[in-house]
């Protein structure tokens, strides 16, 4: 309760200060809109469905892109975790590639795929796949050998052994990578959409700039933050809690 009270106080003061500063008219409203202006932009955005469409387009892209990242990342991570050759060659390359901001893949994507959905997906995948790969690889290495042995002993072999034993056993190690991968995927998507004009939240943000509409810019930013928070706070947190409950891990707070 105390935390909630503190948060309410904090946001009340912040919005109050925003209101006061906007009232002082230090800057013109198109550069520094009052809170009610942003609220109005949010309202009209949802009312004329432009926000809903943008959210739907972006969510579809992130769902496909992130799913691809997880599948590719897990496969690469398992490969690197079980082959010394891959670990020493591909492993080093992937770590160095991680320093590359994901938007740097956009020119390549546009040249290869043109101005299509594929180009955006490419950027999203490149932005997040490395986190998943590296987490899966380290998870595979830290994983106690006993699980694989017990699984083989009970008749699990090949892909079944991976699907029913190795993958679930490495989930606690993989979870941080999945969360980080999600965050990177979300950022890459918005960045890609901003440069690459074809619907989505990123494009809506740029449209606000083009129209000199600061209210819309702030409204879309709020939207992006909120969606990011919901996915992280609800989906991943729930998943994490379930995992901690099953494994009997103490929550990392």
């Amino acid at each position: 309760m105390k935390t909630v009270a503190r948060q309410v106080t904090f946001y009340a003061i912040a919005i109050g200060a925003w209101l006061v500063v906007a009232r002082l008219h230090l800057w013109p409203p198109y550069l520094f809109p009052p809170p009610q202006g942003v609220l109005e932009s949010l309202w009209t955005g949802f009312a004329d469905h432009s926000f809903w469409i943008a959210i739907a387009v972006s969510m579809k892209r992130i769902a496909i892109g992130y799913a691809l990242s997880v599948v590719i990342g897990v496969a690469l991570g398992v490969g690197m975790g079980s082959s010394k050759f891959l670990e020493q060659t591909l492993g080093g390359l992937l770590v160095s590639l991680q320093s590359l901001p994901s938007i740097c893949w956009l020119p390549m994507a546009v040249l290869w795929f043109g101005l299509s959905e594929k180009a955006i997906l490419f950027v999203v995948v490149m932005g997040s796949v490395l986190s998943v790969t590296i987490a899966m690889e380290s998870g595979r290495k830290q994983l106690p050998k006993i699980y694989a042995m017990a699984g083989r002993n009970l008749g699990a072999r090949g892909f079944k052994l991976f699907l029913f034993v190795l993958f679930p056993a490495s989930l606690p190690y993989l979870l941080t990578g999945l969360k980080q991968g999600w965050a990177f995927a979300w950022r890459s998507l918005i960045a890609g959409e901003m440069i690459f004009v074809s619907l989505g939240l990123g494009q809506l943000l740029m449209m606000g700039r083009d129209l000199n509409d600061m209210s819309q810019v702030i409204a879309v930013m709020i939207l992006i933050v909120t969606i990011g928070y919901i996915v992280d706070g609800l989906i991943f947190r729930t998943f994490e809690r379930r995992l901690q409950y099953k494994w009997g891990l103490t929550s990392a707070t």
């Binding site: 006993i146 042995m149 002993n153 494994w247 009997g248």
Partner: protein, 302 residues
Amino acid sequence: MTTSPQPVSIADRRYLPSRFAAWPASEVVPAQSLPAGVEEQTPKVALNDITLEYKTNGLPLLALDRINLQVKAGEFLCIVGPSGCGKSTLLHLIAGLQQPTSGTVLIDGKAVDGPGTDRILIFQELGLFPWLTVADNVGFGLKMKGIPKSERKLKVGYYLRLVQLSQFADSYIHQLSGGMRQRVALARALATEPDVLLMDEPFAALDAQTRDLLHDELERIWAETGRTIIFVTHNVREAARLGDRVAVFTFRPGRIKREFAVEQPRPRQIEDPAISRCAKEILGDLREEINKSLEQEYRVSS
């Protein structure tokens, strides 16, 4: 052929109506004096000249040296030896998780060339799956076999009742006590209905009361299911309490030093003076090996 009653051998006892019928009480006898005729059956498990060599720091280390051992169907064999004698490794070889340098493991006369659900190993660390409920752990081997869900559920229910864990079917592993986890591991191994159960010091980490209780349960379950059990332990009393036969291993390289037949009626009690006498005799044999292993340890550490 005559119809007169044959002398009851250890193997024949499996097929008596009740395994716990009054058995002739006698003291421990060397295995060589087993009644004739027992050796003629095809053994459930036969180890022929098993040798295993490791390379540690480039130096070859002989872990197991020409092990020859036969276990009859339904027999309870205990293997005792000092730590580091390779007795756990031997179980991994029988389970097919590891290959011997030379020699063969035969199950019903057929050579083993990998893991199979006819032999299930219960690891010392158990290796229960923390992401699955107790029931799903027990049903895991059945699921791998592709047995349909409804049938699986029946079997899991039966084996959970057998180890008296029915009300914990939906619990997760971390919610159970050490003794309960042992029973889950036992149920998980039994559920695949293996012919041979391999147990690697399963009760070593438990407190004495829990261990005594599990001895009783294991003996009862063994009697009910008629499995062949090979049980590795460093606890001589445990070996005498549980085994039909006890094989003593030497310290590095692991060899079979001697075998004892424990001819005590079942169900047994660990407090039984006859069991203590058996244990004492076996321990006398084992002590020499333990001393060797301790000497080695001190030499390495000083």
